[in-house]
C-alpha cells in the first residue's frame, strides 16, 4: 500500500456541491470518539496522522465509492492491523458474531406487525438493518476494549462531548466578540485562550479566528481531508467533507459562495483558508446592521453554522425566526 495523490483535491474539476445534509448516525459518532480516544492516550494507539495516511492509501476506486465514515472505518482497521494492534482474524470473528446477533434481531423484527398501520410515523424495523462498516467499527471497539486499549467510559464520554459541541458554541463566541472589541482582539490573537475565558475548551492545537469586514470575506475549507474545529463546532456538514467543495473552494471561491446564495462584490477581497495542517479555523462574520441595541442572547440567534465556515453571512435581523425575544 502506498499513498497516492488521489485525496489531494484542491483545484480539481468538480461539479455542483451537493448541499443535502446527513447527520452522523450513532455508530459513526462512536467511530469518531474511538479515533479520538486512541490518539489522546499518553502513548497514542493510533495518531490522526496514521489514520490520514491509511485513508490516502486506499485504492482510488474505494476512495471514490465509499462515503466519509466508511473510508475512515476501513483506514483505521487497516492501520491497526498493520501495526499489529489488532488481528485481522479476530476482527473477522467479532464482526461475524455481531452480524449473527443482528440477523436474529432482523428475524424478530420482520415478524412484528408494521407499526405504521397504527399510525406510527417510523418503522423501527429499519433500525436493525445491517451496515457492514458498522460491524467492522464495533468489532474494533470491542477488541480495543478487551485489550485494555480503549475504555468504554472514555468512549461514552467522547460521544457525549462531541454531542455538546455545535453551532451554539460558535454563536456564543461570535456574539461576545461583536459586543466586546477587546475580547475580539484577544480572540484574533489566540483563539483557544480567548475561548477559554468563556469556559469553552477547544481541544485542537489552535483555532485561528478570521474576521470578515466590509473589504474582506473569509472562507474555510480542508482540501486534503476534512479538518474542522470539531471540539467546538461539532461535525462538519456533509458538503464540507464532500469532494466538490474540497476541490472548488480554493479554485473558484466566488462561484462556490454564489451557490450558497452569497454574492461578494468586486471591491471585497475573498480569502480562502485551507485548513491543511495543524491549525483549525472559524470565521467571525460581520455583525448585521440594525442590531445596535440587541442583547447578547438575541445576537447569538443571528449566527449560523454556515456563517462560521464562511459560505454565508450571519442572518439579517428580519430573517430571525419569529419567536419570542
Amino acid at each position: 500500500m502506498r499513498v497516492t495523490d488521489h485525496h489531494d483535491l484542491g483545484g480539481r474539476l468538480a461539479g455542483r456541491i451537493d448541499r443535502s445534509e446527513r447527520t452522523p448516525v450513532f455508530w459513526e459518532k462512536r467511530l469518531e470518539a474511538m479515533r479520538d480516544c486512541l490518539a489522546r492516550r499518553s502513548c497514542p494507539v493510533m495518531r490522526v496522522d496514521e489514520m490520514r495516511r491509511g485513508i490516502e492509501e486506499l485504492e482510488p476506486d474505494l476512495y471514490d465509492d465509499l462515503d466519509f465514515y466508511k473510508r475512515k472505518t476501513l483506514a483505521i482497521r487497516n492501520v491497526l492491523v498493520e501495526k499489529g494492534v489488532l488481528g485481522a482474524d479476530d476482527l473477522e470473528r467479532r464482526a461475524t458474531e455481531l452480524r449473527c446477533g443482528r440477523e436474529k434481531d432482523l428475524v424478530v423484527a420482520a415478524n412484528l406487525p408494521d407499526p405504521r398501520a397504527d399510525g406510527h410515523a417510523h418503522d423501527h424495523r429499519d433500525d436493525y438493518r445491517i451496515d457492514e462498516f458498522e460491524l467492522i467499527s464495533e468489532a474494533m471497539i470491542g477488541a480495543l476494549v478487551d485489550h485494555g486499549l480503549l475504555s468504554a467510559e472514555a468512549l461514552r464520554a467522547g460521544v457525549e462531548r462531541a454531542e455538546m459541541a455545535g453551532t451554539a458554541v460558535g454563536a456564543r463566541i461570535v456574539a461576545r466578540a461583536w459586543l466586546d472589541p477587546s475580547f475580539k482582539g484577544r480572540l484574533r490573537a489566540n483563539g483557544k485562550t480567548a475561548m477559554a475565558e468563556m469556559g469553552i475548551e477547544a481541544l485542537e492545537t489552535q483555532i485561528i479566528v478570521v474576521e470578515n469586514s466590509p473589504s474582506l470575506h473569509n472562507l474555510v475549507v480542508c482540501t486534503l481531508c476534512s479538518c474542522y474545529p470539531r471540539s467546538i463546532l461539532g461535525s462538519p456538514p456533509s458538503w464540507y467533507v464532500g469532494k466538490a467543495y474540497r476541490a472548488r473552494a480554493v479554485r473558484e471561491p466566488r462561484a462556490v459562495l454564489a451557490e450558497f446564495g452569497t454574492l461578494v462584490a468586486d471591491d471585497v477581497d475573498v480569502h480562502v483558508h485551507d485548513s491543511n495542517a495543524d491549525m483549525r479555523y472559524m470565521v467571525l462574520p460581520m455583525r448585521p446592521s440594525g442590531t445596535a441595541d440587541w442583547p447578547e442572547a438575541k445576537l447569538i440567534r443571528l449566527v449560523t453554522r454556515d456563517s462560521l465556515i464562511g459560505v454565508t453571512r450571519a442572518r439579517p435581523p428580519d430573517q430571525l425566526d419569529g419567536n419570542a425575544e
Partner: protein, 97 residues
C-alpha cells in the same frame, strides 16, 4: 528554536515529488507567496504518519498566495488570496523582485 522565516518574507513552495504522507497540497507546489504568520513548531506529520515521533519539531507557517498567481484564468479580483499552512522544510526563501 530560531525561525527560518519572518512575517512578510517571500517564499516558494518546493516542487518535489514527495513520497508518502504529507500536508502540502499540490496546487501550491512551485508557487510563490509570503509568510503571513508562524503558527509554531510541531512534530513532523510526515513521520508521525508512519509511527515515528516526528521529532525534531518543524516550524509551521501560514503562507499567503494571491489567487491570480496560483490559477490560470482565476475568476476573481487581483487581491483574492488563499492561505495555506506549509512546513518549513517545504519552503525556500525568494528574493524580492
Amino acid at each position: 528554536m530560531t525561525q527560518p522565516f519572518g512575517i512578510g518574507d517571500r517564499v516558494r513552495v518546493r516542487d518535489v515529488g514527495a513520497i508518502g504522507h504529507n500536508r502540502t497540497p499540490r496546487y501550491v507546489r512551485g508557487k510563490v507567496g509570503f509568510i503571513e504568520r508562524c503558527c509554531g513548531a510541531f512534530p513532523n506529520p510526515e513521520a508521525l504518519a508512519y509511527g515515528g515521533d516526528g521529532l525534531p519539531k518543524k516550524h509551521l507557517f501560514r503562507v499567503c498566495f494571491l489567487q491570480k498567481d496560483i490559477w490560470p484564468n482565476y475568476e476573481g479580483t487581483r487581491r483574492d488570496a488563499v492561505e495555506v499552512e506549509i512546513y518549513e522544510h517545504w519552503l525556500q526563501g525568494v528574493e524580492k523582485p
